[in-house]
């Protein structure tokens, strides 16, 4: 005890010197609304949907651990591709909703999709005033498709 209370305490003043140095340095802060940081391409920001690729196979909805994907579809007959052939039966997507208030961003749906209909986009500005508004429909999900970035180039080793 007696040794420690002696003046001066070198550690205390070294610390003060460090805080003083930090004070005169510019702060490494991004002023968010004015300056936006660009997330890394792989960032799991929001799930985008490519409606054309979706075949209403329900795999994503089944594999979702949170049960937050709601899909409805119907079968629809289409004219045969070549004249004289059998008419095709095609599943059409009526509803594709993701409840982002439940989603835990695990990425399983994107992974299990066999037809490349779901993508991760780094977009993050979609907060809502009410939790109920976080249920986004397929039109909204399609809008985000444009924000899906190109795949990053890979490390050579």
């Amino acid at each position: 005890m007696s040794k420690k209370v002696q003046f001066p305490f070198p550690g205390l003043f070294k610390g003060m010197w460090l805080t003083l140095k930090t004070m005169v340095k510019p702060a490494p802060v991004t002023m968010y609304p004015e300056v936006q940081e660009i997330p890394v391409p792989r960032a799991r920001g929001v799930i985008a949907l490519d409606v054309d690729n979706c075949t209403v196979c329900m795999l994503c909805a089944r594999e979702c651990p949170d049960w937050c994907i709601y899909i409805e579809g119907h079968k629809q007959e289409e004219p045969p591709s070549k004249p004289g052939g059998r008419p095709k039966v095609r599943a059409t997507l009526d509803r594709f909703d993701i409840d982002y208030s439940l989603c835990m961003y695990c990425g399983i749906c994107v992974e299990v999709c066999p037809f490349d209909a779901l993508y991760w986009s780094p977009e993050y500005e979609y907060s809502e005033g009410s939790v109920s508004n976080l249920l986004h429909n397929k039109e909204k999900l399609t809008e985000w498709l444009a924000t899906v970035p190109e795949a990053p180039s890979l490390e050579s080793r």
């Binding site: 075949t55 196979c57 899909i71």
Partner: protein
């Protein structure tokens, strides 16, 4: 059970397993247990419930670190998740598990005592190993197992007025019952799914629904 056909054992694995078997045998000898099971590098020592505290305390001399204590509910009445492999052959019981580890090397074993469902009760380790208190409280509220001698057996996680033992297999998981599985609707199974999976897609969906 230990030589499960699914595990492709390389030579390296065999080399690892052999000393473990010797280790387990020696441990059974030392603590005076019934026997052991060795699977996937995990040694389980089967202990008579009446000698539970003695056994653990003896083993604790070498395996200094008390790691955890918990239980398994082997039940035919399964509300959530997959049922056991062979339901008819299953003998309904609780298993109390206690893991001790050595801090010198990788040694360690899980001590297992089997308790009947009618009277799930076992002596408490609390006075010999004080760290067991919280684990016993957890097992008590989750499974309803009584630890005789534990003076502080009040709920750890759950509210005081909670009724039921949530980790019992017969206890329903409400979150899976209050709403239907959105993936469980009628659509045609896709050819790709049928082709690649051994199990048909319909089964997949029902299982994913958590047997709600």
């Amino acid at each position: 059970m230990s030589d499960s056909p699914d595990t492709t054992e390389t030579e390296a694995d065999v080399a690892v397993i052999d000393p473990l078997e010797g280790y387990a045998e020696a441990l059974v000898e030392k603590v005076g247990a019934i026997g052991f099971t060795l699977e996937f590098d995990t040694v389980r020592i089967h202990v008579e419930p009446s000698r539970w505290v003695d056994t653990i305390v003896t083993a604790n001399e070498d395996l200094e670190l008390f790691s955890w204590l918990s239980a398994i509910d082997w039940s035919k009445d399964v509300e959530v998740g997959d049922p056991v492999d062979d339901v008819d052959a299953l003998e309904e019981r609780f298993e109390v598990l206690c893991r001790l580890s050595s801090v010198q090397n990788g040694d360690g074993a899980i001590f297992v005592a089997t308790l009947s469902k009618d009277n799930p009760s076992i002596a408490s380790l609390m006075h010999e190993i004080p760290g067991a208190e919280w684990h016993e409280r957890e097992a008590h509220e989750m499974f309803g197992i009584d630890f005789e001698g534990n003076t502080h057996l009040i709920p750890l996680y759950l509210p005081d007025d909670f009724v039921g033992n949530p980790l019992l297999k017969s206890y329903p998981l409400l979150s899976r019952e209050v709403k239907p599985n959105p993936g469980d609707v009628d659509v045609e199974p896709m050819p790709a799914v049928e082709a690649e999976a051994e199990t048909p897609a319909e089964v997949t969906s029902e299982e994913a629904a958590g047997d709600a």
